[in-house]
Homo-oligomer: 474 residues x 2
């Protein structure tokens, strides 16, 4: 699967692993060109190219006549802690703060450590634009007409085919196309709840879910999300006994912000528990395709035998955020979902659906994913090393196996909302931990995005951010 | 403004008016080629071409050596009656029926008398496709990126400029771009109401508004809409005294289905009354640009001095239904509207916004509108004449000055839902009156769309429909 990478990139990856895993420590000498050439069966030129690339990233340094050395101490960050939220149904209360953060994370003048989207350079904008132009030329009338409310049939066919990768055997008729995954989540939530209902979520969770709950007058009940394995089925079982819960929203694959990935066993158990309690499970899978392994993880939906999982996803993190092409598999709630979608905006835009369908049909998506996964993994590793270098010792950090964000635990004395404002002043966009929960459990956490291409600007930004944190800690 | 029409089309229009107004009765002789040539200052060839066109439409017949005659009795249909709905807050109850109708009005196998959209041939699909291709070629990265939640700036600039035509002086910052007008209405309604609230609507009203109210748990209070002048301010005043009303939704310009157009005086008065009572007025203006006069009517919003009108509109009836490009002017409810839009789908698709902005910038829209208005007016008049011919005597019919639908009152014995099913069996799509109100006031009404290009198939369909009605009446 990884043959798509240039040979030198594979070497580069190998060396980064050596550094990141501390197999070769700070200041220590890295394997010689010749040794690595033999070991990896690559030419000396290739090995050299990889070392030069790592030197540009500031990870290694060349010493005349001595070879390449690990440049600095990438401190071995501890994992983040997992606070236990209170088991209390809580009405949303973060709306105003989230709106403030949202209005500045997208600010093009800020260093994009707050925005989750992959950098434009990593997305197939030209291929998509060419395909869209050709689709419009071939079907001008079709492209301006209403699409059916279900969505473009060829797109649903392609999605049904791709669903096999996530362990799901579904047909085109099971899908409902939406304007992005957020709309899918909104439609799902409106389809299964009424104002005042309790909704089970993981903590921390994506702040837009909190906004959505608040806007719909729903109460959040939070259970801990563990960076290493996400939601614990035992927590789900406990909460189901104590509260009347009408829906749940979980992100089992690379939860935003803690990057957690639930095991297949945990997924199966959670699906079973919720089905027994007749609680619809709204599954957010937008990062599922952004795994760093060659095989993407399964979904809750793939374990669903009774139609109670409503899967929601999109191409916003992998192809084109601005196309607003998402989808849902609403299971037994199909009719209710259809009704909400109808009164919300009748149907999703036609040309973008046609272009994405055409793109999937060409088979380019799989190849693109390989490159995108490798690029984001590399960016994330580089970020981790530099955070280790520039942030105070003891800063906790996640080690996600996919997605595109890092979740950092700072010293307890740090107020991340104050840090957010200070960083903004310094031209750096970050997401403060407080917005990822209705409770004050993450006030000293921040989320950093690894979507942007690595650059000197990012390095400087991380250094400056580390400086700000050190100052606040005094 | 009408110079855009071919000369023969102007002549054709003149003659159709003669027939429709009954200035020349059925079987009577129409002005000779020579007389009309002198009167209208057009060549004999032009006049002849117009008569041949009218002959094709089945409106006139040529008799050898005698000239052209009006072909049949276009019965002079009476206006429709205006039932008074009960003044009772009513929870939606038409959802299932509306869903059934909706699922078949879009059926491509049915004669499209139920679909409101203009026929594809009347829309600028090629020009738009070319512009979209060029926009994507020039800005591939921009076109796949998220748009701001407010919407594409150039689009909002063009909209602000065009708003002057409707009597509104607004700036780009006042707009929020939505995925079609339906989303604008949904966002507006969610921004100003909570479940259980009373909402004032006109009766009959567009059935999607009823679906929306039902879905949001809102109660409808209906006041009569008069085909000649829409909502009467006196009715508004009366209802405001009796009920606690939290929002109102009106379509002052060519209300769907009765085609009513409110006068400027009525608009001004309604805006004033609602503002005094602090009731937000959600204005649907999707048909405002489809007036048959050369100058489009003003909006409620143009009389709004305090920001309590939330104008909603789109290009779905004039350019490209499938692009899902709509907008709203939420006035003082801007922040609330923004919040609802954010949690619904973050922002509207980028490429379609860019293409519509580019189209408006070329100045083609105004020229296109002239042609579209003339085409729909002609189709409507032709429909009216044939309905007069084929439907039972006494069938009531509206005479709208814009929009694209006719509202027909059949004999009291007719159940229009039964007729809907029978017509569907016969391959004809219509909209039964029952879906345009929460009350049983329009069971013998139907709505027919004039969006499709006139054809022999439509003529046959109207004849068959007239036959079905005559049979049911027995």
């Amino acid at each position: 699967m990884r043959q798509e990478l240039f040979r030198y990139q594979q070497v580069e990856r190998h060396v980064r692993h050596l550094i990141e895993s501390a197999a070769v420590g700070p200041g220590e000498r890295l394997p010689s060109l010749r040794a690595l050439s033999r070991k990896l069966n690559a030419s000396i030129t290739t090995i050299n190219q990889a070392y030069l690339e790592l030197e540009k990233q500031g990870l290694v340094e060349a010493r005349p006549r001595s070879g390449f050395f690990v440049r600095k101490q990438p401190s071995c960050s501890p994992p983040v802690s997992v606070p236990r939220p209170e088991l209390e149904p809580t009405l949303g209360n973060r709306g105003r703060l989230i709106q403030t953060v949202l209005s500045s994370v997208g600010d093009p003048n800020l260093l994009p450590l707050g925005v989750v989207c992959p950098s434009e350079e990593l997305l197939p904008s030209k291929a998509l634009s060419r395909l869209m132009a050709s689709v419009l030329r071939d079907s001008p009338c079709r492209s301006i007409a209403y699409e059916t409310i279900y969505g473009h049939l060829e797109l649903r066919r392609q999605l049904a085919f791709r669903a096999l990768d996530a362990g799901m055997s579904v047909s085109p008729e099971d899908f409902l196309i939406t304007s992005g995954a957020m709309e899918a989540l909104y439609v799902a939530l409106r389809a299964v709840t009424r104002p005042g209902d309790n909704v089970l979520i993981q903590s921390p969770t994506y702040y837009c879910f909190l906004q959505l709950l608040e806007n719909c007058g729903l109460r959040a009940i939070e259970i801990p999300s563990r960076p290493d394995n996400g939601v614990d089925p035992a927590d789900v079982a406990k909460v189901l006994q104590r509260f009347d819960i009408r829906a749940s929203i979980f992100s089992p694959n690379f939860n935003n912000p803690d990057g957690s990935l639930a095991s297949d066993e945990a997924k199966q158990e959670v699906v079973k528990l919720l089905a027994e309690a007749e609680v619809p499970l709204i599954e957010d899978d937008v990062y599922g395709d952004l795994c760093f392994s060659s095989r993407r993880p399964r979904t809750y939906k793939s374990f669903d035998r009774v139609g109670m999982v409503l899967l929601c996803s999109s191409f916003s993190k992998t192809i084109a955020p601005g196309y607003r092409v998402g989808w849902m598999l609403p299971g037994r709630y199909f009719r209710q979902a259809l009704e909400v979608k109808t009164v919300t905006n009748v149907c999703t835009a036609t040309p973008t659906q046609m272009a994405v369908a055409a793109y999937l049909r060409t088979g380019q998506y799989e190849r693109h994913l390989q490159r995108l996964r490798a690029a984001i993994e590399k960016q994330m590793q580089t970020m981790q090393i530099h955070i280790g270098n520039y942030f105070p010792a003891g800063t906790g950090m996640t080690r996600p196996k996919g997605g595109s964000v890092l979740w950092l635990e700072l010293d307890e004395s740090i107020d991340s909302v104050a840090l957010f404002y200070q960083a903004r002043e310094a031209g750096i966009g970050i997401a403060p931990g407080a917005i990822f929960s209705t409770q004050d459990k993450y006030n000293n956490f921040i989320r950093l995005s690894c979507g942007a291409l690595w650059s000197e600007g990012l390095r400087n930004g991380l250094e400056a951010l580390g400086g700000l944190i050190k100052e606040m800690q005094r």
